[in-house]
């Protein structure tokens, strides 16, 4: 109880409360703007968090990401354009419901289930994280090496349609971590005599470059059609919500729990959670034929999952220091910059910080109601904002934000290079998220690998000798080789099936 009160004291300060409010407002703005993602909102916040206390920094990120994921539903309902990828799964339901004159029901349901999903996710985080942390305390470098590698391997599985290209993107992130002084020997690698590279590549410059600059460049290739002012929605969206929520209680609870579990899986974020929850909700629905025509049950089942996934992704982040998605990869980066190593020891050394994160999560999700109402009322004005006013301002924020963190001109070269590189990569189906995950986790992988190698005196079998390490090792290898093996077997089977048919046709002729 003392720890909880200390955590409450940490949260109830002017600095934390004001940054949570500002982070929320910023998240709502970015989320409601089509084309800008929640990850971009968080990446743009990073330079600001550099000057804040750890609780205020995490508070701003949590509030910003929770708000932007919910706000992504607003343009989905009004214009049939998802504000963030996390809203894409049920956007057609939102818009179909609005087209039938039930904008109030569409946005009211999405707002309320986002709050419930977020709170359920927070509850699971509060209950599961300390238990898992106790197990994680037994981990040695072998387990951490495999766990980080497993997280990275899973990230390539779900990051995009092309697994091979996802792996290359991950390798690029790992390669970037090699630049600078070697962790074990202190010798410079790939620095080419440049002093600015000795400390390694700036994490902030890479994150802003990958998630914001690349996104501006991608938008620059598109056409600039004016969206126009969408219809208005107001306070009426709360009317009758309690009845609707009670009617759809099962899909909401199922979506919230499913979202939390999916969010906790390394690499799977809010968007994947929403797609899976939508499919599951349809599978268990008594009226699956109404899906796609503006079914409130579909919104209840999937809009709860994306906000729950956000909380769920903090489970591996806090417990193991392994980010669950690109947003938590940024969180790990921010914590490392603040001198805090996420992992089981945080639960012992800074329990008040962990509790403060729980409180901030609950607060951010509850704030969705008042701030969400404001965003829904004013969202139509944000949607009418011209690209010529929006993108130059974001570009300036990227430049000054990157420069501000280290006062380094060299970071700007990194920003321009990574932004252009990721833009080219994404245009060729190489996803950006594994690159950032690789950069954040690369040092953990190499450090634990080298320490294990020293302990084992180069004996690779030692990596499998401890029970948990062995299990994680086998799992990681299965993640690498099982999907191509299954593909190969399927190809053989289909060939075997077609061969007799051909023979029969030839015999007949």
């Amino acid at each position: 109880m003392d720890v909880f009160l200390s955590a409450l004291e940490l949260v109830l300060t002017l600095e934390v409360m004001s940054t949570v409010l500002l982070g929320s407002a910023f998240g709502l703005f970015v989320g409601a703007t089509p084309g800008l993602s929640a990850t971009m909102a968080v990446a743009l916040l990073v330079p600001v968090t550099f000057f804040l206390s750890p609780v205020a920094a995490i508070g701003a990120i949590v509030a910003c990401s929770a708000m932007s994921i919910f706000a992504g539903d607003i343009p989905g309902a009004l214009l049939r354009i998802p504000g963030t990828p996390a809203s894409a799964a049920y956007m057609s339901e939102l818009n179909a419901l609005s087209s039938r004159g039930r904008l109030d029901l569409a946005l009211g349901t999405s707002m309320m289930v986002a709050v419930i999903g977020g709170l359920v996710g927070t509850l699971v985080l509060m209950l599961a994280a300390p238990q898992l942390a106790e197990v994680a305390l037994q981990f040695s470098t072998y387990e951490y090496f495999w766990l980080a590698l497993l997280g990275l391997s899973c990230a390539t599985l779900v990051a995009g349609s092309d697994r091979l290209k996802g792996t290359i993107s991950l390798l690029l992130g790992l390669f970037l971590t090699l630049i600078g002084l070697d962790i074990t020997t202190g010798l410079p690698r790939y620095t080419f005599g440049t002093i600015d590279l000795q400390a390694g590549v700036s994490l902030i410059a890479v994150m802003i470059g990958a998630f914001a600059v690349a996104e501006i460049m991608r938008s620059a290739t598109g056409s600039l059609k004016s969206i126009g002012m969408p219809p208005a929605a107001g306070l009426g969206i709360l009317k009758g919500q309690a009845r609707h929520l009670w009617k759809h209680k099962t899909p909401v609870v199922r979506g919230s729990l499913l979202g939390t579990v999916i969010g906790a899986l390394p690499g799977a974020g809010a968007d994947i959670a929403a797609w899976i929850a939508y499919a599951v909700s349809r599978r268990f629905s008594k009226t699956p034929e109404t899906y796609g025509t503006g079914e409130p049950e579909a919104i209840a089942g999937s809009a709860s999952a994306n906000n729950a996934a956000l909380s769920g992704s903090y489970v591996p982040t806090l417990v193991f220091g392994i980010p669950g998605d690109s947003i938590t990869a940024i969180v790990v980066g921010v914590l490392l910059l603040k001198g805090i190593q996420p992992g089981p020891m945080v639960f012992i050394t800074s329990p008040e910080l962990v509790n403060a994160i729980y409180i901030v999560f609950a607060l951010a999700n509850l704030l969705i109601i008042p701030l969400g109402l404001l965003a829904i009322t004013g969202g139509r004005y944000v949607l009418g904002l011209r690209a010529g006013l929006l993108y130059p301002a974001i570009l300036l924020l990227c430049i000054l934000g990157t420069f501000a963190t280290n006062n380094s001109i060299f970071d700007l070269w990194t920003l321009a290079f990574i932004g252009t590189l990721v833009w080219i990569l994404e245009a060729n189906d190489y996803p950006a998220a594994p690159l950032v995950l690789g950069l954040v986790l690369g040092k953990i992988v190499e450090e634990n690998f080298m320490m294990s190698m020293i302990k084992a005196d180069g004996n690779l079998l030692a990596f499998f000798e401890r029970p948990i390490a062995g299990t994680l090792g086998v799992l990681t290898i299965a993640v690498w080789f099982l999907p191509p093996l299954i593909k190969l077997i399927r190809r053989w089977r289909s060939r075997a099936d077609t061969a007799p048919t051909k023979e029969r046709v030839e015999d007949h002729v």
């Binding site: 290359i168 390798l171 300036l396 000054l400």
Partner: protein, 154 residues
């Protein structure tokens, strides 16, 4: 910018070979903790994955060597809009220490707004409002010493 898999695959192979060759030059202390080990693993993985990506285009013949044209590439303004993003970042890095952050930001945001189809008057107004607000936020709220330049307004 859509490129053939052959190009991107071979670029990855080249990066892998570069990583391995560079690693050969790293000093190697006694014991298992060699600074060459991890770069070699990453480099080898680059070569294998790069070849796998490039091989997708091996059977496509000459067509694989030509990048497919994209709609935005036919419009000079869209090309300028894309190219201006990295250009603006580099220009800020080169010019801000000499002319000051605010002056350079104003010019860059103004040009950028014009490229995003904003009218000159709207571009000037938005550049003034955005640049002054963002500069004040960084210098006063976050206390970041941005390059002041000869005018030293904020």
């Amino acid at each position: 910018m859509r490129l053939p898999d052959l190009w991107t695959g071979l670029a990855i192979v080249a990066l892998g070979l570069f990583a391995i060759l560079q690693a050969q030059g790293f000093p190697e202390p006694a014991g298992a903790a060699s600074p060459r080990l991890f770069p070699r693993i990453i480099g080898a993985a680059f070569v294998i994955c790069g070849l796998a990506v490039a091989s997708r285009d091996f059977t496509r013949g000459r067509a694989a060597l030509i990048p497919p044209g994209e709609t935005w590439m036919r419009h000079p303004k869209q090309i300028a809009r894309v190219a201006f993003v990295p250009f603006a970042i580099i220009a800020y890095g080169l010019l801000a220490p000499i002319a000051g952050s605010l002056a350079v930001s104003l010019v860059l945001v103004f040009i950028s707004a014009l490229l995003w189809n904003e009218r000159p008057l709207g571009a000037i107004l938005s550049a003034l409002i955005v640049c002054i607000a963002v500069t004040l936020f960084f210098t006063r709220v976050m206390r970041v010493p941005l390059p002041a330049g000869p005018l030293d307004l904020f």
